[in-house]
Symmetry: D2
Subunit: 386 residues, 4 copies
């Protein structure tokens, strides 16, 4: 299966955004296993992210998480990033880690808490203005743990009100990406539990509001690629938070748990015309027990391989078999691409791009891990609280 120039160009153009928090410590409610050499500042997170870009060539931007990455001077932070060969990307809000948010943020029964949460969201747009970020990603931990705890519909009203206020604040080149999640940390209702809810709110808001699909945020059995195809058809797919899972929101490396699913998703992205900068391809994962930078590199490579395979699908043959109603032939066309080993192609492309064909080995050889362990001594390692 030969990869033509379009395939090569598409792989060259692909950009995956890595999240600043993936470079810090993370864990489960049971334990955060601290690792050595972990960054202590937003700047050091960016330094780590720049290493991933250096070795993969396809991760030119870093997502920020506010307040974890709050700094006094965002222009200086952007310059720091530029000096490392990357740029600041999506701004992620956080309205779930203050004691005030025990019962919610923008959906909290108390108007004062809602105001505080909204102010934070508006601050995030201020930061976007400073960083030049295009996208504001909104994930709400809001929900309830017990039947009766709060009024489901009233919480939707409060949510809609906050979203309208944020939407009104957006600049004309800025977008709001609304994320949904089935459960956790809320265990009875979640205020944006599924794509249907996110989509309905985005429809109400307008064209700058888009849905973001986190691949770990669905009920068991949910067909994610269907959602992707549907949102693309509706012009409402803003982007992805890639990660993988066997059970719940496990946040494992993208492509690690179900590489075939990732391929099917990329197949729909391509079929729906979504493989371009209008779709934000982001990672959002936790490297609880494995070293973080190589885990991010591996995840990026997994996304690349899924993309390459999806690009190799013989779409003319596929459409012909589909039109004929030839179930086995159509499936075979898709599987033929999936079964292709695209690693040699990607290695070849990396050489074309002037980087090492084996990013994992190159990173290992770079000495970055040893150097950060040696140098990043003292201070407080970054984690979900900072």
């Amino acid at each position: 299966m030969a990869a033509g120039p379009e395939v090569r160009a598409a792989l060259r153009a692909q950009a995956v955004e890595t999240p600043s928090w993936a470079y810090g410590n993370s864990g489960t409610r049971f334990k955060v296993f601290a690792q050595q050499g972990v960054p202590r500042t937003p700047q050091e997170k960016i330094d780590d992210a720049s290493r991933v870009h250096a070795h993969t060539g396809v991760t030119p931007s870093v997502a920020l998480h506010i307040p974890w990455d709050r700094v006094d001077d965002y222009a200086a932070l952007a310059e720091h990033a530029a000096s490392r060969g990357v740029r600041l990307g999506t701004v992620n809000s956080n309205v779930f880690q203050d004691d005030d948010y025990r019962l919610g943020s923008v959906t909290h029964p108390d108007a004062a808490v809602r105001r505080k949460a909204l102010d934070h969201l508006l601050e995030c747009v201020d930061i976007m203005d400073a960083t030049g970020s295009r996208d504001l990603k909104l994930w709400f931990a809001d929900g309830t743990n017990y039947p009766g705890q709060d009024d489901i519909a009233a919480r939707q009203d409060r949510l809609a009100e906050a979203l309208r206020a944020v939407y009104a604040r957006l600049g004309e080149d800025q977008r709001m990406l609304l994320e949904y999640k089935l459960f956790e940390p809320a265990f009875y209702t979640t205020d944006v539990p599924d794509w249907g809810t996110a989509h309905a709110h985005c429809l109400q808001l307008g064209p700058q509001a888009q849905v973001v699909v986190d691949t770990g945020h669905h009920a068991p059995g949910t067909n994610i690629e269907f959602i992707v195809a549907f949102l693309l058809r509706a012009g409402k797919l803003g982007g992805f938070d890639f990660n993988s899972r066997f059970y719940a929101d496990d946040d494992l490396m993208a492509g690690a748990a179900d590489p075939f699913q990732l391929f099917r998703i990329m197949h729909e992205v391509i079929g729906g015309g979504g493989l371009g900068p209008q779709t934000a391809f982001m990672l959002d994962q936790c490297h609880n027990i494995e070293p973080k930078i190589p885990a991010v590199i591996r995840s990026v490579m997994n996304v690349q391989e899924a993309t390459a395979k999806a690009l190799l699908v013989d779409r003319a043959a596929l459409t012909a078999a589909q039109t004929d109603g030839d179930v086995l032939a159509a499936n075979a066309v898709l599987m033929d691409a999936y079964h292709t080993d695209v690693r040699p192609l990607l290695a070849e492309l990396r050489e074309e791009w002037g980087i090492d064909p084996d990013p994992m080995a190159a990173y290992r050889r770079s000495g970055w891990a040893e150097r950060t362990v040696a140098e990043r001594v003292g201070g407080t390692a970054a984690g979900w609280g900072a």
Copy 2:
């Protein structure tokens, strides 16, 4: 917990529609266990349905399934129903049991099959005109079994086209109720897999298109009452197909598997102003191993009990506790109603309504079961094929 006049009036006004097919034989792919005395004609199904109404007082209408209940003269069928004290209700289309529908109906890759399916749907509206039915319920088995089998987005286009054609054919007092289902009989993609998809299509179509929630059609862990609350808030809840499940679309008696869930659903219905004729409360279940008429009676009683409990919720106290953020108090208000034994209340109401306080016992004593076993000899018992 005293039941005031509003509670009593609401229970008196409640109407649950029973489905003609629940009175016929049903089963799993492994086996249909035929029962004795099962109706052989639409008329006999209506006779059985009238028995449920006679004993419960709250099931005045019978849903039809076309072609299973196809007759030459629908006006005569309506008269038959009226003579039995019930009326014809929702018309259910069937575009899944013809060999042509192996790869879909309105989403089939072949335009000729799509046309055939659409013609059937339009015929169903003709029947509605004849029967005076308000609602057309659309459930599509359409989907695919294998990745690549067909184009997900193209199938949405075809679906939208068919829905538009049917919608255009509706009379001004008629509605289209669009049902969704996660899977089965399709095992990879389903063309209307979730409420989000149904809702998006209904939004496109207009106010006469509404979503119907079948309580057995969701992924594990889905919070159904959230969907109910959301759709009511959006003015898009058309009705329910009640049944219950432990696993998939088990189609057990409503309230049998999770009575607390049914209560929570009715709590949202009431809170959202949905307890009225604009919401079609229907049963859709299969009595594979238990006798059918008493199973329907039991299901109706389960719905009544859940409704009664939800009506007993002290909403002022609930709102107060919610506003205070008092999690345990709010939960306790809800649970207080749920834990109340409403069977005495319902027995009392039935006596007021002039029917036996114990519908199950009254049905047993009526001799209907023995009579139908004796009389319904010969012919072909009704089932999912007829």
Copy 3:
């Protein structure tokens, strides 16, 4: 439905153990919302537990978690408990919160880590000797996050070796309760993921090894009461960790999410002869957003209510209907008990026992909450790390 003397006696004899950690702070990986008045020491946790016993009359023992409840003098701790009217109960080991356990404890690839973990388990038996505890509850967070990470079968060998060593150390009146859990914190394999695994190990070990069922540790759709019935029939049900869940291991209050399931479980417990001291009825839950002591009281009441309803099942009528193959009648016998409002019965019994019929109100009136908020100032609030 009159409750005879056997029912009353059974409810009087019922004992539910509360966990020391339920009184401390807990949360999700996203946030631990600290509460005021939370205990700072094992002694204060016991004080709180004694309040639950004072108001419910059925929680005479407190489970310990080592090292969170490690003290220098366990005899003194036992005396403290006695002075508060309770006793020390099950000892829970913790081999998941040390950095050494990143890749497992007793199943870790490194023998030195395994030894460390085993030493901790043996220390727990030492503590049992000191406290007079009967049961050692073992839950292992051990597992892997990625395919290939470790050898599944080798980990079973290591697990079996450790269990044998602990079993050999047990006194003749001591038991090992082996807990299973589908996932979390491990996200690919868990070394004791299901009851089948726990049961197989316990069979190998001998009669003092028993399985403990945590109601939140199963895959979606798992029928927990089947497992309970099976284990009781096999003589291998050691006890329960009660809590409830809508999604994963949500650790909500027992009976809050699915009271019917809790009833069905208690029905099997009673049917299998398990309602006695040989079965350890324990709570294991997290009160992340609600106040902890009243949440425990509510949970205990929920267990009592489920037990009372299960005791009211007319077992003779049930067996008769089952023997007749009368599906609806058998189901109706069970549901008749479930629908009974047993709160008046329990209130009456509490008065007989000399306690307030309304434990929640009595606790509120007691002023304990205000007192602990005022007095427990300074120090470090107890949580999952202490």
Copy 4:
């Protein structure tokens, strides 16, 4: 990644049994779409199975299903198979399609029904004697639909009694393979719902009783390869029913839904020493919408490819990385094999074996499909009822 002689020998030795019923019509409860050319007799099913063997070279035996494949003269049937180049394999019992089995077979409350079911199972062993089959595969549809319907523990007693009687009847070279399934057709309890139940019964019975793993019979999220590894370690893995699923027991082609899972399963099979004739590798799937013979061929090829990839795992490197606790390196070793395109290797091997390197194309060219459509006219097409 070069495939050494051991890999080639293992692939040459691999045998996959195909099920007679896969060649007949099948469907869902909604519809069985009849196909043309479908066999009408056990002999014609064997003819079809022989075509799969002719093109793949690895399916030398055909599983029978009694009574669907009941014949007067099993020796003659075996001769027919031999004349077609295949042999009769596992005998599958059926105690779920008679009206008597509405409430169960060997667990039915009525002793007469239990006796009838047991007699059928014993007849199956008689047939095994006649056919020379080694394995009796037992799957029970037994269970209940409603809480209270029957006594869970009593049903286990009845099950154990029947299994003992069948076990006692086995010849010394015969085995009983006990299958488990979470649900369907029973929707509340299933009498053998999980591997733990099957394993416990097999332990009681003795060494000739073994567990069979159907890959579609688990709760969502269940880690099947863990079960495989556990059973192999315990000497209790009798075999597999391969198929694949996205939702429930979808019975899609093996490897179609999650090829990575199939690879992981084969990896555990090989690691546990299970890749040999003592493990029965069987297909059990339904080709509802696709043509049956090529679907079986594709499934066999998928199993071969998963096996080939698993054989290519560098186990020395894997063990080294696991021992080092190098999570990413260990995962990479496994994924390296998975990502390898083994289709050229298998094509090469087929040429060595004297068959066409492309079984799908060879079958298409053979004209068998057209020939059977032309010749198999009249009679009753085989299906789940015959």
